[in-house]
């Protein structure tokens, strides 16, 4: 488990985009995951921000957040396609080749996996000219698709070369989804593995999923689900997964801390992972 195989999500770190890029590069992390906000909220504008990202030499391994389409009215579909186009253009502007699409949490979310798959295929087509892939992620509080096996079913039905799966340890531990189902998924259909932990053994209320997910995640090794995370990484490695790993730790406390301190904990987390994987 080498640091350069592991990226870190921008929203995990405090500071400006520039400070984050410098810190990530100096700490030896392989990549950064950016959100649209990182570019759009930049004081010099999105285009200038994108130029700085490219000039920094930091690889952007994934881009977020795009929610899947809900409803099927022309207005809704048109709006979602426009949103997807903006995200694809932003991702392309930083040389990123993976756009994460998360399952819908809206009451109007589409329940029919075949319809969800058709919409993913449309996103796959939209992303093709730019050489961008679509990674579909089940959010634990998704209205219909809330676990990775559900997301995998939709990805399979989409049946597109550039549409694959994003695996996230946090979503798995929230739902206590079995890792055994990973065995059915070919390694090259998994486009990204996101890692984070949490301090609670069980969370029962969906509202709390959201709260903890956005504000109280922990670095792998800092929470109580270390065994699940190391098991997940071991299984992914065992099946030949060659994609990126990302530390995705949304935590308010981290955002109030000094950047070097958070980076140091991220490095410690990578070391913890490396030790676990070596011992496995």
């Amino acid at each position: 488990m080498k640091t350069h195989r592991i990226g870190i999500n921008s929203a995990t770190l405090p500071g400006t985009l520039h400070e984050k890029m410098d810190a990530v590069r100096e700490a030896g992390f392989g990549a950064l995951v950016l959100s649209a906000k990182d570019l759009l909220a930049h004081p010099d504008g999105a285009a200038a921000a994108a130029r700085k990202v490219r000039a920094s030499g930091v690889r952007v391994s994934a881009f977020q957040f795009l929610r899947e389409m809900t409803g099927d009215s022309d207005r809704e579909v048109g709006y979602r396609i426009d949103a997807a186009k903006s995200m694809i253009e932003l991702a392309a502007s930083v040389g990123c080749r993976l756009l994460i699409v998360s399952s819908s949490t809206a009451p109007t979310a589409i329940a029919d996996p075949a319809a969800l798959a058709r919409n993913l295929a449309v996103l796959g087509t939209l992303a093709t000219p730019y050489g961008i892939r679509i990674g579909y992620e089940a959010l634990a509080w998704g209205r219909w698709v809330s676990e990775y096996p559900d997301a995998w079913q939709v990805v399979q039905m989409a049946n597109r070369h550039n549409v694959g799966l994003v695996i996230d340890s946090f979503q798995i531990l929230m739902r206590q989804t079995s890792l055994d189902l990973l065995a059915d998924i070919p390694a090259d259909r998994i486009f990204l593995a996101q890692l984070s932990d949490c301090s609670f053994d069980f969370v029962t209320e969906i509202d709390e999923f959201v709260e903890i997910s956005r504000h109280e995640r922990r670095f792998p090794g800092e929470g109580v689900h270390g065994r699940l995370i190391s098991d997940l990484v071991a299984r992914l490695r065992g099946k030949g997964y060659a994609g990126d790993y990302t530390l995705e730790v949304f935590n308010d406390e981290n955002l109030r801390s000094a950047l070097p301190a958070v980076i140091a904990r991220a490095q410690a987390s990578v070391q913890w992972l490396a030790d676990k994987v070596a011992a496995a």
């Binding site: 690889r59 579909v77 396609i81 186009k85 040389g95 080749r97 295929a121 449309v122 996103l123 796959g124 087509t125 939209l126 093709t128 000219p129 730019y130 050489g131 597109r160 070369h161 550039n162």
Partner: protein, 295 residues
Amino acid sequence: MQDPFFPTSDASGNVLGMDGLEFVEFASPDPDALGAHFERMGFSAVAKHRSKNVVLYRQGDINFLVNSDEESFAQTFNRTYGPGICAIALRVKNVASAYKRAQAMGAWDVPPHAGAMELNIPAIIGIGGTHVYFIDRYGDHTIYDVDFVPLPQTKPPATPMGLTSVEHVALTVCAGREQEWIEFHEQVFGFRVLQTSASGSIWMESPCGKLRIVLRPASDQVREGEPPADPLNVEGIACIGIETHSLADVAAGFGETGIPVARGPENDPERPGVKHLVTAPVVDPFYFEIVQRTE
């Protein structure tokens, strides 16, 4: 090539109402040299755009547009990616429905920029930043009737060489991206894979049966540890394949007018039942493949 299980009809996959190819648009910094090259291949300059610096060259059912208008997409394409084939136009039964359907399937639309009294020709983004126009005015009433004026014929027209129609369009794709472009053309246009050659070229046919595309992986290999090249800079339309009824006559005619031939005439190593020749570029990077079906 008709598939007995999936006959090509409107009911089985011609989602856009495609009906062949209308024109090919070339972006060149030296339009005169390219025009002279076309004339040596038997094309004649027949018309000029009303308001833009665009000339129409024609032979048989083939329309080549050379666009040197500074404000045009072609010259923007030229400045961004270098000289190349920047657009093709597809004949469709109904532009409005084809355009809407293509976008609903995930195609990017191109913002329109027609001049006054000109047709608005909708386009979507194809491979390598090229445009794919949709046209439903063809046959008796054409777009050229509206947007073009005939050129005064001050010199005798070029002698046609028996080039009849555009048979295929060859696309360069990044190695490893073949499947993505297969799926793109399946989903947006309803193209179907005909065959994959031993050399890795993938031949697809339009649902109307009148046009083929061939996907050929780029030869540049990605080096370990280096970021992959931006596909927009690598991919694109490589060349146009033109059909003739007599490849021998074309080869003789090219010999007389000084069109250099890089390969052939020979049996096409990729497609049984097809003879072909490939020209060498005179105006870089443009070259052509001339094909004759022998079965």
